[in-house]
């Protein structure tokens, strides 16, 4: 058993690595120019070049993959020779600083040929000093310095090169400054350590917007799931008790109908009927700063849409499983023994019939996600799915990769759990 779980777990890890590479390659190979999307079409070639270099997009793909996965601070730390710290400033921005031996935090900027160090004391005050001793001169006589700049990059400055750089500040516009470094290394902690980088679309760290979105989606999925599960299982069992009866045909054709209609069509029908025509519930979700569970009335339609589409699927699987069990010889034997009808159904049939649907439900998480993405778009629900779609349309690669990885992790993780649950439920399975 332990061996089986370990094997499945290793397979899970392998899948994750493969998928992360695939996700990375697909998003990075996309022809849509990331810079154009962020900066608009009136950007000049120099501005575009500056932007790409500052985002680290000029690096080779394997290096970006490693940085994205495990972070770049360790690399920058070895280059600068300082341990690096990420702190959150009073204004709520994330800042990278180098840590000096005396416990003070330091960053640098270049003014003409002078290197200025910005020192932040433990009490929060900052002071600036000229720090020209830090230059290190190499054999060819060029002075270089690896340091941390004020915009969260590790950078290589070259004395006297005085490069002009264009800096794009979200919401402000372009700024042309001198004193640019020759090499940039954007600092991030990496996906594994919970920091997938900065969203190219919003300029905020992806993790800041991703996790509330994920929470919202989980709330929606959780509510839908708790409603669907018992309902579908009970209805499926009822339909499967007597194959071909009116109840069976009604439930299975009804269930099929709702499960094959695309979510967006069901959503539109529900909005038209419940919201526009009957005026019972709001037809869109607008939460503002509130959490979804504070406006439960707005959750009704999204949950109902998800319920309808999931209900049919699980119902049909439960029904098929129940029909099969009811045909089994031991059920006939039980009837012939003269056991009471309900006792046969509840004690003998249902237990065995529930095995298949429970595992299938776990595997169905994959589909549930698809449903959630659509439902979120239909109702404007601020969840992970909508975030992913917006990121995909914008080619916001950092956000897309992070969201994609979380989805895959959820899908593969539930599959893993389903495998284990199944071996517990069905002792006939031999695990190899």
């Amino acid at each position: 058993m332990g061996k089986f779980i370990l094997r499945r777990f290793l397979l899970l890890l392998l899948t994750m690595v493969l998928v992360s590479m695939a996700v990375f390659l697909i998003t990075e190979s996309s022809p849509g120019n990331v810079a154009r999307n962020v900066l608009g079409s009136f950007v000049t070639p120099e501005q575009e070049q500056s932007f790409l270099v500052q985002m680290g997009l000029d690096k080779p793909a394997y290096q970006r993959y490693v940085y994205w996965l495990v972070g770049s601070d360790w690399h920058a730390s070895s280059k600068t020779g300082f341990p690096l710290r990420r702190i959150t400033s009073e204004e709520g921005f994330e800042e990278w600083w180098a840590l000096r031996d005396d416990g003070s935090l330091v960053r640098w900027k270049l003014s003409g040929d002078d290197l200025i160090s910005v020192v932040k004391q433990p009490d929060g005050t900052t002071s600036e000093h000229v720090d020209n001793d830090a230059w290190s001169r190499d054999d060819s006589g060029v002075s270089r310095f690896w340091g941390i700049d004020t915009r969260n990059h590790a950078v290589l400055w070259e004395k006297g090169s005085d490069l002009k750089v264009w800096t794009f500040i979200m919401g402000t516009g372009w700024m042309k400054t001198s004193g640019g470094p020759t090499e940039y290394l954007p600092l991030k902690k990496g996906f594994i350590r919970g920091d997938p980088g900065v969203s190219l679309r919003t300029g905020r760290p992806v993790s800041k917007s991703l996790f509330p979105r994920l929470r919202n989606s989980l709330v929606l999925a959780g509510i839908a799931f708790t409603i669907v599960m018992p309902l579908a299982l009970v209805l499926g069992l009822l339909a499967g008790v007597k194959e071909g009866s009116f109840k069976d045909r009604f439930l299975s054709i009804g269930g099929m109908t709702f499960s094959v209609i695309p979510e967006f069509a069901t959503g539109i029908f529900l909005i038209l009927i419940m919201s526009v025509w009957l005026g019972l519930v709001p037809g869109a979700t607008v939460f503002g700063e509130k959490a979804p569970w504070q406006r439960l009335d707005m959750l009704i339609l999204p949950v109902l849409t998800l319920t309808l589409i999931e209900l049919g699927y699980i119902l049909r699987i439960t029904r098929a499983s129940m029909v099969e069990v009811m045909r089994a010889p031991y059920i006939r034997t039980a009837f012939l023994k003269g056991l009471p009808y309900w006792r046969i159904i509840v004690r003998h049939a249902v237990r065995n019939a529930l095995m298949a649907p429970i595992t299938v439900i776990m595997l169905h998480v994959n589909w549930l996600m698809g449903g959630i993405v659509i439902v979120e778009v239909v109702f404007g629900y601020p969840g992970l799915g909508k975030y992913l779609l917006d990121s995909a349309l914008f080619k916001d690669i950092n956000a897309l990769q992070a969201g994609a990885m979380i989805l895959v992790l959820l899908a593969v993780g539930t599959q893993f759990v389903a495998d284990i649950v199944y071996t517990f439920l069905n002792p006939r399975i031999r695990y190899t």
């Binding site: 996700v23 022809p31 094959v260 038209l272 526009v276 037809g283 778009v377 989805l407 599959q415």
Partner: protein
């Protein structure tokens, strides 16, 4: 299914009427197929719905006075009237016309460029190509087994582990929106499932005597896979592909709704709903209602048909 195609032809004038006998054979096959469908009420209802959309899609240019792009600036977002039987969208385009041209894109034509298209609907092509690749993969890995099987199946497992919606998002985001890319996306998403089905069928069939005897005759593996095994696996594959067409239409609508399907202004049900959705709360639900009904009825029809067929074929077994 017990349709063994034994052509029991009358012995006397068989040689003189070879041509007509062949046509009669095909006709008989067709009518047998039809009576097979008509035997099930579910399948009949499904067939009627599907046929309605197929006919409407084929004859779309003759069934409307407007092109799907023509804009009537005098009446945008109008309800049904004698001029526009289903109403108009936000640009005053005729909804009936857009609806049936949308059915055309799904079922009858695959637009490659703006002016060039090939027959066979976008959804059908998506299923067909996935079917070709998936069947080949399934046959090969089921027939050869060993490391080929292991390799193919692990790869397909990894592909199946990725949520489908994510595959669509990634593929369409990197390829861009066009009919060809929709077909590519549907192929990538559909292949693993078909390969698995065909593999399991192959594993079963390759133990049969006729495969063994073909091997003894010294037939090539290619012959055995495609001539001996594949025709005997066709029943489940046909029912499965019918469900897949339904799913492909579902997927096309979803992609269109997410803005990843056909590029505007082509008539696409999903994107019609997405656009019309913005005007529901402003009191004009028509632009989103009709395509929703259209796609719902078409996929339900296909599923009823496939369901009925499956039930019928199970009854024969």
């Amino acid at each position: 299914m017990n349709e063994k195609r034994t052509t029991a032809s009358p012995p006397a004038d068989a040689q003189t009427f070879v041509g007509s006998d062949e046509t009669r054979g095909i006709l008989r096959g067709l009518s047998r197929g039809f009576s097979f469908v008509l035997a099930s009420k579910t399948a009949t209802v499904g067939l009627v719905i599907v046929l309605f959309w197929v006919v409407v899609a084929i004859f779309a240019p003759f069934l409307t006075l407007y092109t799907p792009y023509e804009q009537d600036w005098m009446s945008p977002n109008a309800g049904p009237s004698s001029e526009h039987i289903l109403g108009t969208d936000e640009l005053g385009r005729d909804l009936w016309s857009r609806l049936i041209y949308g059915a055309r894109v799904v079922l009858v034509i695959l637009p490659i460029t703006e002016n060039f298209w090939i027959p066979g609907g976008t959804a059908l092509w998506g299923v067909l190509i996935a079917l070709l690749i998936g069947t080949t993969l399934g046959l090969v890995s089921g027939y050869y087994g060993a490391w080929i099987d292991e390799l193919v199946m692990r790869l397909l497992d990894a592909m199946m582990a990725v949520p489908i919606i994510l595959l669509y998002l990634l593929i369409m985001a990197s390829l861009g929106a066009s009919a060809i890319n929709v077909v590519i996306a549907m192929t990538i998403v559909g292949t693993p499932g078909i390969a698995r089905l065909v593999r399991s069928l192959t594993l079963d069939i390759k133990t049969r005597e006729y495969v063994k005897s073909a091997q003894t005759r010294g037939e090539s593996p290619l012959y055995i896979m495609f001539i001996e095994i594949l025709p005997n696996a066709r029943g489940p594959i046909i029912v499965d592909s019918m469900l897949r067409v339904g799913y492909a239409i579902f997927a096309m609508g979803t992609l269109g709704f997410l803005g990843l399907g056909m590029p505007p202004p082509s008539p696409d049900w999903g994107s019609m709903v997405a656009k019309g959705r913005e005007f529901i709360l402003m009191g004009s639900p028509w632009a989103s209602l009709w395509p929703s009904i259209a796609i719902a009825s078409l996929v339900v029809g296909l599923n009823l048909l496939a369901d009925g067929l499956r039930e019928e074929s199970m009854r024969y077994q």
